[in-house]
Structures are given as C-alpha cells and as structure tokens.
C-alpha cells in the first residue's frame, strides 16, 4: 500500500462504487432511482475491466473491448427500461415498485 495510485487503488474505487450501487438498489423504491443504481454498478464493472487491461494485460486491448460492449449494452438496457417505466407510469400513475405488483398474485 503506497500513496502512488496503482491497480489496488482502482480496484478499491470500483468495489466501493459497486457497493454504493447495491446499497441504492436495496434502499430505493422508485424505479428510476433503481435504474440509476444499476448504472453505477455497470460503471464500476467497466472501471474494473479498464484497470486490469491497463495494469495486468497491457497492449492487448481486450478489457477495452469488453468495456465498449458493456457500454453499448448498458445504453440499450437503459433505453428499454425507461420505455417500460414510462409505460408503467401511464397505466398505474406511479413508478413505485410497491405499487407495481399486478403480476405477483
């Protein structure tokens, strides 16, 4: 452990960001804020891939491509999720997960 930033510092940031996202996912009950938490989780994974690509697997660009594809999938996922959320709001007048339980019983 030194002050010079290295792989472990990046892993610390990405782990902390991941669990911040998990905390938001546990505590929030609004669908849009839950979606924001998922975005934080995906970003922490991207940071992990880039850190390993930089420090352990330099010059191969594999982690970089994983990050690129995760960003593309995250964009598609956010678009579909927001379409579903807006549709839910139209039919239920609320985007709280406690109110969206029609399929539960």
């Amino acid at each position: 452990m030194t002050f010079e930033p290295g792989l472990y510092h990046l892993l610390f940031i990405s782990t902390a960001l991941f669990f911040i996202g998990v905390y938001g996912f546990f505590t929030r009950r609004n669908l849009i804020t839950m979606l924001m938490s998922v975005e934080l989780i995906l970003n922490s994974v991207n940071l992990n891939f880039i850190a390993f690509d930089k420090y352990l697997w330099p010059g191969k660009l594999d982690g970089l491509f994983f990050t690129l594809f995760i960003i593309a999938i995250a964009a598609a996922e956010a678009a579909v999720a927001i379409a579903i959320i807006i549709n839910l709001y139209r039919s239920h007048k609320s985007i709280d997960v406690e109110n969206a339980e029609d399929l539960k019983y």
Partner: protein
C-alpha cells in the same frame, strides 16, 4: 505527491462522493445530477489512465445520452419539487450493514491476492489500433461481437418503439 497523484485522488473523491450522494439524496432530480457528476468523474479516471477513446465514449454515451434520458423520464413521471418518501430506518441500517460487510470482505480478498503481470508487446490504445482490432476477423478480433451488438441495438430500438407505442385502448 506529484500532481498526477493529487489529480487521481480528486477524481476518486468526486466519483465516490457523488455516487454516495446520488443514492442517498431524497430529491430525485438531484440524484440524477449527482449521478451525472459521478459518471463524469469516471470519465476523468479513464483520461487519467490514458484511455482517451473510452473516456470519450463514456462522456458521449453516459453523460450525453443516458443522463439526459433519465432526466427526461424524471420530468415525465415526477411532480416537480416533490421529495421521495422516507424509507424505513431499519431497512437503511440493514442495507448499509450488509453492503459494508460485503465491501470489507471483497477488499480483504483483493488485498490478499497477488496479481501477476503479463508482459506483452504493448500496442497502445490508439483509435487506429482499436478500430483495426474491432473489425478484424482473425484470431482475437472482435468482428463477431461487434455485429451481435449491432443486432442487439437494433432489437432494443424496435422494442422501445413497440413498448412506447400507445395501442388503442381496446380494453376500456
């Protein structure tokens, strides 16, 4: 401490601080803005690591696309100035405890592990190298995932239109 080190810690503090505020604030619009700054902080870390292409993609897709999408959907679904309802304190404490324990466990595992570096002939992450590798069909090329991702994006686009298209209210 050199300037580069200080910059790294500033970016890390920006990312983590805004992330915490984003999941803990009770005003949903502020949560979106904090999320935006957290994403910009991550883009700054990519710049610091000299992955300029990924940083640019991060800013374009996340800060430019997803943040704006989220803010628009907040405007469409939320009353202005209304705060989110208070959560049960028990749930908050339990979540924080569980998350902290998992975080500590993961970090202990990470710090105990010795990563072995693989030395290879370095091809720097320039746009030229990225583009050649992305469309290469040889060993280690990424042409097939690229095509699959484009099909996925097309499917997502069609799916969004179908979901958002308001069918005639035949049930009523």
């Amino acid at each position: 401490m050199s300037g580069s080190t200080i910059l790294f810690y500033l970016l890390a503090a920006l990312t983590l601080g805004c992330g915490i505020l984003s999941v803990s604030t009770r005003q949903i619009f502020r949560a979106a803005i904090y999320l935006l700054f957290s994403l910009i902080g991550i883009a700054g870390i990519y710049f610091w690591l000299q992955y300029e292409f990924i940083a640019a993609v991060q800013i374009v897709v996340y800060a430019g696309g997803i943040a704006v999408l989220i803010i628009f959907s907040i405007f469409l679904t939320q009353q202005a100035g209304e705060k989110l309802p208070k959560q049960k304190i028990g749930r908050k404490i339990f979540s924080a405890l569980a998350v902290f324990c998992a975080f500590a466990l993961t970090m202990v595992q990470v710090y105990q592990h010795e990563f072995s570096k693989i030395i290879t002939d370095a091809a720097p992450a320039t746009v030229r190298n990225i583009g050649e590798k992305m469309l290469s069909t040889e060993q280690g090329g990424y042409a097939l995932p690229f095509e699959v991702i484009s099909m996925l994006l097309l499917a997502a686009m069609v799916g969004c239109i179908v979901i958002a298209l308001r069918s005639k209210p035949e049930t009523k």
